[in-house]
Amino acid sequence: MSERNEPVDPRHEEALAAALRAQAETVRPAGDGLIRIRARVERRRMRSRLLIPVASTAAVAATVTAVVATGLLAGSGNKPGVAVGPTSAPAVATTTPAPTTTPAETQRPSTSTAVSSANVVASTATTTAPPTETSVISPTQPPGPVPIWPFADKAAADAWQAKAAGVSSPWQLDPKGTAERFVGSVMAQLHLPKLQYAGTTHLNPADGTATVDVSRVEPSSGKPIALGTVRLSHWSTGAAAPWGVVGVTSAPGSQFPLTIASPAPETTVGAPLPVVFNLIGAEDDVYVGAAAAGGGSASPVQHVVTAMGASATIGSGLPASGRGYIVVADGSSGQGAFALSRLAVTPVQFGAPSYDAPTYVAIVNGQLHVFDAATHADVHPLAGNATGVTQVAVSDDRQWVYYLQGATNGCGAGTLMRTRLDGTGTPSKVDTGTGPVTAFGIGGPHAQQLAYATTPCATDQVVHWQSAAGSGQITGFTKPPLAESLVLSPDGRTLAGYVKTGTQGNVNTFALPTARTLSDGVVPTGCTTAGNACISAAYASNGDLVYVQGDGQQLTVFREHGGKATELFQVAGAYGGSVDVDPTGTKVLLTDGTGRAWTWTEGGTAKALPGSITDASW
């Protein structure tokens, strides 16, 4: 039976389309869709690639088993259970039970060399490192980097060494045993379940160090999951010097590396401590913690559910002093129990970060000068005779001064440069690769994060960023609007800047890496009051946003923490300018763009600085 379609009234069509469009506007996607999709894509990739090592392992196991069987059948005289293979590939991974010992124990390490298909690590088939169950290189070479585990310091290691004489094969003399027990210790520190590990040792006789590729043995399938490479060094020289862990990194060439971007190894850190890490192929859960050397006092564990590169801040509870380490563990809790996938450990020094700023850098008549923060005396000029400097920012670690020079051509664009704060060395160009720069911002304790705006003549402005969140661009800054100042949060997850629209402007923040255009910008709560737009912003080292609100008659500086803004101080008769916070978050520099500048210290009032200063940074 056929039926004739009735003609449709165009007015009804229009009405339906209008209703659908209006209804569609009420549906607002959450904004994290791309992150979720990418995370799922990465997980699928990871799963599919993990199948390759499994296949390889099976092949290796089959080969080894065949070789052993051949040897036995041929009556070669080799003892059963000992691998017989090509002499160029003699290393066989040994299995070690899940570590349950403490560093003080001197349990005999596992020396089993049974060739079990479930426990052979694929990489052992190709390694050329000599087989080892205990240290086979005589630790007479100068020790390498000072370890962080299993002893608190060299004195403790020496004391152990004196007592351990005569003990049979202590695991402290075995790099593999030490590495595997360290991973177990870290898991306990993070309150995560124990696992079974397998390690493959590579000794470096040239410098007396070793690396151990540690894998987790999947209980159900027996397949190895590479966790990371544990780097080891001897605590001292001598025939029975114990091994110690120096750090853990992803194996070179790893497809799914986990790296700790900040803090840098061996830097001095204190709370609050932002730990920035990068992951490729992230699992669901990341645990972050810190501990004193030797596995002593540990910080509270931070748990992050992440998709890609991310960060966590250890707010308190760090050891007060001494050496120690930062741990980042990535894994999945998909099947109830946490399954570790990757581990990274960075050695650090605990203590008050030497970030206190006894000086500040200011632009006076277009030139950079270092001033004493207490006396405001001109300590020394910076960057030789560089002139035409318009913006300046000092890295939180007080090592580098970034500045914009020569922003005087027709487009107002200049060259991004940097020089050492202590005045040594030669200024050098920051190679942005994208041409002239009109504004820039740095972030992170070591200026790991960088953002800059490029405004080629006659075209729209583009803000480029490189941070722990990856890298990308934010567009839509037509002429106007313009991004006139930029700053990145210490963890690299947020970009803030003053965006000018016509004659008006306000501070906008952009979540990275999702922000793509100007319309993704969000005005901070404290900057939305009518007539009180914000003119500049800066980040404190704990991630708090500090911004300046201007009402045309005075400037008011606020600090926003957890969505709540607190007024810090006010300056009357000022209209514009920029703000900067010192790394401790207790001192602020404010300039009004006309040559006037003020400094403020927590608990005090704003004090005007002498001279004419157009921009300044702690």
Binding site: N5, H12, E14, A22, I37, R418, T432, Q466, A468
Partner: protein, 182 residues
Amino acid sequence: MSDRDLPVPPSDAPSWSDADAALTAIYAAQYRSLVRLAAFLLRDPGQAEEVVQDAFVAMHSSWRRLRDPEKAESYLRQAVVNKSRSGLRRRKVEAKHAPKSTPDAPSAEYGALGELDRSAVIEALRVLPQRQREVLVLRYYGDLSEAQIADTLGISTGAVKSHASRGMSALRTTLEPWEKTS
């Protein structure tokens, strides 16, 4: 003088492959409208996002075969429609075994905003047979041609015309007051 190690970018930042780059670009262009399309079909914005994310993951896996943004767009639309249907089927099965709840009512927000006409149209659309609803949403929200709708739904253009005609007839009485206000 250039100092190439200076900007300190993360050296291990992801280097996106073709599929990754395509995913990002197509996401920027299509994600929002696909979520809205799925929301019309599923009547659940949360589930709509999940469905669209599923479709993007599937598209990424199939990129070697697609390798064309236009094909990818069509693939995504089909995937969203199919997955929305599956979602509705699953919901029906779950509803059979769930305790009876009070029927859906327009939210208080709609009334407060004086959008009763619009919600009446949307409500009338919801009670249409699934195929008619799909055709009307793809035609009047997705702005697709009859041929594109036929391709998306895997039916003939004749069937598209027929579903559209029946659907519009069913909506006529609801659309008349809306037509006056809009």
